[in-house]
Symmetry: C2
Subunit: 149 residues, 2 copies
DNA sequence: CTCCATTTCGACCGTGAAAGTCAAGATGGG
DNA sequence: CCCATCTTGACTTTCACGGTCGAAATGGAG
C-alpha cells in the first residue's frame, strides 16, 4: 500500500510547477533543488510526465518546464495512475484494467477490495494541485498566526 | 498501492479457517487446495501467522491449523499490517512507525497522505472475517434468489 | 554563425524484496 | 514403530525499483 518514490517525486515536481505559475519555464535543476529530487532521475520523470500531457518543455538556454494545464485541472489521482499504474489493492478491482482472478465471480474478497479501492479513489481523485496549494497557504497562515481580530 | 500476494494468501488462509469454524484443525494441504495457494509457500505463511498469534497449530497425523481467535475478533487490517507492514502511502504518515521525511513539518503533502491513509484504515480496520463471511452468504442468497415474497 | 545552457533519448546497472522451493527434523496418533 | 503432518531455516530465482551516465539535439544570446 505504498506509492513509489518515483511517483512521489512526480507529484512534488508538478507541485513545484504549480507554485511557480508563470509563463516562464522552470529549469530541471531548480525543481530538483526545491523538492529534493536527484537531478538525473528527475529528467527521466519529467520526460515521462511530458509524454502524459501533464507538462510542456522548452529547450535551450532559458528553457525548462511549465504545466500543460492549470493546477485546478490536475488531480493527484491521475498523476498517480499515470506513473504507478492502476490504483488498486489487487488487480481484479482495477477500474481501468481489471484482471480476472482464479475465482471468477465467487471471490470472497471482491466486494471488500472494491471498497478499499473506492475509498482511496475518493481522496486522490477529488484533490487537485490547486487544493493542495490552498491547504498549505491556510496552514501557513495558521502557523504565522494571531493576525485575526 | 497494492497488497503483496503473500498478504492476500494470508487473508485467504484465515478466511478458510473462519469458514471451517470447528475444533478440528484444517490441514495445510486442504487450505492450499481450497484457496489456490502453493503449498510450500503456505507453510511459510502459516508459520508466520502463528507467530503473530492469529492461528494455532497441532502437529502429527490429524494435525493442522485452527484460528486462535473467533472470526469476529480478527480484522483484515491487523493481518495486513502484520504481514505487509504499516498501511501507509508514504512512511511519514504511518501511525505505528512514522518516519520523518526531508521536509520536517512543512511537507506540502503531509495532510493529503494522512487522509489517504485514514480512508484505507477506515475500511480495513472495520472489517472482520465474520463480516466478510456474512457478506458472502448474503450474496449467495441473492444469487440463488427469488425466494422472497 | 558560434557558443553555451538546457532539454532529450536511450542504454545501463546494482540492490533488495517478492515469491516460491527444498531438505531434514520434530511430533503425535494409531 | 510407522506414517502423516507440522517446523525450521536456508536457498534460489526473477524482476521492479531507484537511480546513473553519455552523447546528441535544440534554442537563445552575442
Amino acid at each position: 500500500m505504498a506509492v513509489s518514490s518515483k511517483c512521489y517525486y512526480a507529484l512534488r515536481a508538478i507541485y513545484a510547477l504549480s507554485e511557480h505559475a508563470s509563463a516562464e519555464p522552470l529549469k530541471i535543476a531548480e525543481i530538483a533543488e526545491r523538492q529534493q529530487i536527484p537531478v538525473r532521475f528527475l529528467e527521466v520523470i519529467l520526460g515521462q510526465l511530458k509524454g502524459g500531457g501533464f507538462v510542456r518543455s522548452r529547450r535551450g538556454a532559458e528553457g525548462g518546464y511549465t504545466l500543460a494545464r492549470p493546477p485546478e485541472q490536475i488531480t493527484i489521482g491521475e498523476v498517480m495512475r499515470y506513473v504507478d499504474g492502476p490504483i488498486a489493492p489487487v488487480d481484479c478491482v482495477s477500474q481501468s484494467r481489471p484482471k480476472e482472478c482464479d475465482f471468477h465471480g465467487h471471490c470472497h474478497f471482491f466486494g471488500f477490495w472494491g471498497r478499499v479501492r473506492q475509498a482511496i479513489s475518493d481522496v486522490v481523485d477529488r484533490t487537485t494541485f490547486a487544493d493542495l496549494m490552498r491547504e498549505n497557504s491556510l496552514k501557513h497562515r495558521e502557523y504565522v498566526g494571531d493576525w485575526t481580530i
